[in-house]
Subunit: 460 residues, 2 copies
């Protein structure tokens, strides 16, 4: 029987709450060996670990405090959170496009309970309408929760199911698909879906938030609204990520699924298109394309090709990498290795015999650059030429993450190394581009007044 | 006996040159199964591979053509390269500072032979004076070639020797140290030297070039001149990287040794300070600091602490990473694992038992973020809390490459996991900083006129 006053706490955590006579929704001051913390004790789910008390601090951040460090807890108040969003029926308008929101886990949008600061996740159309009423101006919304996992736990079974479900929704006439996703591996999912779902007639847009909806700076509602608008109304029929654009609070960007990467652990503007410019800028009522794209069609035809080989690894090169790093992969039955090499696509010469053996045993070895920006060019130096000679496949400007996802997908089709080479080097979804635009590379922001004054006056 | 007409060619390569009656410095048109190439046949060193003919194309790029693909070679001219730089004695001026240039491999500067387009490497003070005469205005230069390796082959023995030699040069009164280095792993070497060479009284500056000196756009002479100026005259006594700054042709930047990373495989502006602003901007006659730094001292005391544990690996997380990736490291005797996790420092739950076993066996496991920008925050989600519980060490905003180098160095001192934790989390050389400045994050360059017009007029 669950104890609602200590919802989700058990063993040591429960013991500590009871010892100090506090419960869920108690406003507390917790003294620990690492300093003191103030906040509201939040309920937990019973699958969570047993040795942390989780509080919402005044900053809006949740933090877990290990019970082993707690020396005292003092209750200073009590503010119960409500766990029910008033559902309003989502209005249906036959003139508006139909958008399907597929949930994979994580909070897509939520209603802030200002009394407690608690997050109340919203997912059904009615709940979302309650939380973000502007959604009803944009489309008719259908929601389906496919799974509930942290994005770092997304894997092949989820990718395959997601691809199949997208296929069904498009076949049933959805005008656009939005996928709610945790941000950690959103770019990986966008990448694999770019290969598993081909020639979509409608936009397929992954969206998430970097700050939960109970924080004033949350990007959740805005990202969701922008993503839904793009799914319903934009002409861009590609797999994309819709997230916060600049570091200032302005627009969102639509990033191409195979050229996007999470570049900051906490900023809202974390997703960046790499080696290309984003596809479009987006406001809640307007999409401004920045370059050419695949256009929306009126048919409902889409090709779902949901295959995946699991025995593939990324080998991220570092100096003095020892040959056992490659040998273990071969001995453990890996079918593919994506090297993220230095510079133009290099590793140290000590790895050569092991890479030779790997390829001789039929392992597909492909090269990408760990600089992230730029192209593999393995014919410039002897190091690279030797690797080419061995049969390492140079993946042009494919991101290591994208090459990983593509290789998993390609090896799901064939293990013939010549076929693998052909498929890896044949661009399918923008993963290889002929050139990097001049403004596709990150720049240093500057903004130091002394330097700007100096630059303005300095004679070279 | 070396054959000067076919310098460096042997076996198949030599055979093909002789078959078509061409030699080194022949201007040729080579027909291959992959298209035709025009250029000048370059000499090679005898250690290079035997199956490529290397030509300098009109673009300035060198390219290696595999003999197996060659269907015909036609000679269209002959332009012999000179292999001797006119050496001029480097002027000594007792009033100028003494700078030591240590060579590790790669071309630091060279003289362009316009007749042939050949690169003639310059290294002795006399040669460098011939190639970059402005160096004599800056300092008295001493050069010592320590080794000649491609930077991807730099490893512990080179790091230790380099640290020791830097110590000797500083002890002998050098006013600054410049280290010529290939760019692939320049940031790794800068990072390990930041730990091996502590409290230097003088600047220690790594420098290289992204474009060889025979190309009109080369950054070689300029980077060298800037690095030498900073070593001789700047007040900044840290380990730094001096390379091309913005994407336009303007200034160089001095990057902190532990927060710099190569971010583009071919651009000259490839090095970027991550999560911090660069230490200074630099022109050939002026250094403009952008923030505080360790100041130059008049003494010759420096602490050399050149230890290194080789059994350390970076585990770059990707979705569905299988537990054998961790198990193999433990079974192969690794002492340290640097995880480059997703988001705030996460991996999938399937790895938890293997990570638990690793730590129980005494392996130091540390967490960094693969976003590169931002901090590890493992107390926000259950995934992270569980890893903390196991004993994973959260490395704040240390770059994965820097955490790798620091862990190699720390494990050279102790294998006691509590000591390792203390040392990893104690900032030594700027590898952990309390906060990321607002302008320490990359931005999207924009520069699309339609969008700028739109932004100027759009009412939100």
């Amino acid at each position: 029987m669950e104890d609602p006053q200590h919802k989700g706490y058990r063993e040591k955590g429960l013991e500590v709450l009871k010892r100090y006579g506090v419960k869920v929704w108690s406003d507390v001051k917790i003294e620990t060996t690492k300093g003191s913390f103030e906040g509201l004790i939040l309920p937990r789910s019973s699958t969570e670990d047993a040795c942390h008390i989780v509080i919402k601090m005044k900053s809006g951040y949740n933090t877990g405090i290990h019970v082993g460090n707690i020396t005292h807890i003092r209750q200073v108040g009590y503010r119960e959170g409500k766990y029910k969003i008033p559902e309003k029926e989502f209005p249906k308008n036959p003139k508006k496009p139909n958008v399907t929101l597929l949930g994979t886990g994580g909070t897509i949008a939520s209603r802030l309970d200002y009394t407690t600061g608690a997050v109340i996740p919203a997912f059904s159309p009615g709940e979302l309408y309650g939380a973000v009423p502007e959604l009803a101006d944009v489309c008719n919304l259908t929601t389906r929760k496919l799974f509930g996992v942290f994005s770092e736990n997304m894997g092949p079974s989820q990718y395959k199911e997601l691809a199949q479900e997208i296929g069904k929704e498009i076949g049933n006439g959805a005008h656009g698909i939005v996928i709610g996703h945790g941000t950690d591996t959103m770019h990986h999912t966008a990448s694999i879906l770019s290969f598993m779902v081909q020639d979509s007639p409608v936009p397929i847009i992954l969206v998430g938030s970097q700050r939960s909806s109970d924080r004033p700076s949350s990007d959740a509602a805005r990202n969701l609204l922008n993503a839904t608008f793009a799914a319903a109304h934009s002409d861009i029929a590609e797999v994309m990520v819709c997230m916060f654009g600049p570091t200032s609070d302005d627009y969102d960007l639509l990033h191409p699924g195979t050229r996007v990467r999470k570049m900051h652990s906490s900023y809202r503007s974390t997703f960046r298109t790499i080696g290309e410019i984003p596809i479009a800028m987006i406001w809640p009522d307007r999409v401004v394309p920045l370059r050419s794209y695949k256009q929306r069609r009126k048919d409902t035809n889409v090709k779902i090709d949901a295959v995946y080989e699991e025995k593939v690894a990324i080998l991220y090169y570092y100096p003095n990498m020892l040959p056992d790093m490659v040998d273990s992969l071969v001995d453990n039955g890996y079918k593919g290795i994506v090297i993220a090499g230095t510079g133009l696509g290099h590793v140290n010469y000590a790895l050569n015999p092991s890479l030779k053996r790997a390829i001789e045993k039929g392992v597909a070895v492909v090269m990408t650059v760990q600089t992230l920006w730029g192209y593999v060019h393995m014919n410039v130096y002897d190091t690279g030429r030797y690797l080419l000679e061995l049969g390492v496949i140079p993946c042009e400007n494919m991101l290591p993450e994208t090459a990983y996802m593509k290789l998993c997908w390609v090896l799901g089709h064939t293990t013939d190394l010549e076929e693998v080479r052909k498929m890896m080097l044949m661009p399918i979804a923008g993963e290889i581009t002929p050139r990097e635009p001049h403004n596709g590379y990150l720049i240093y922001q500057g903004g130091i007044p002394e330097v700007e004054r100096f630059l303005a006056t300095y004679k070279k």
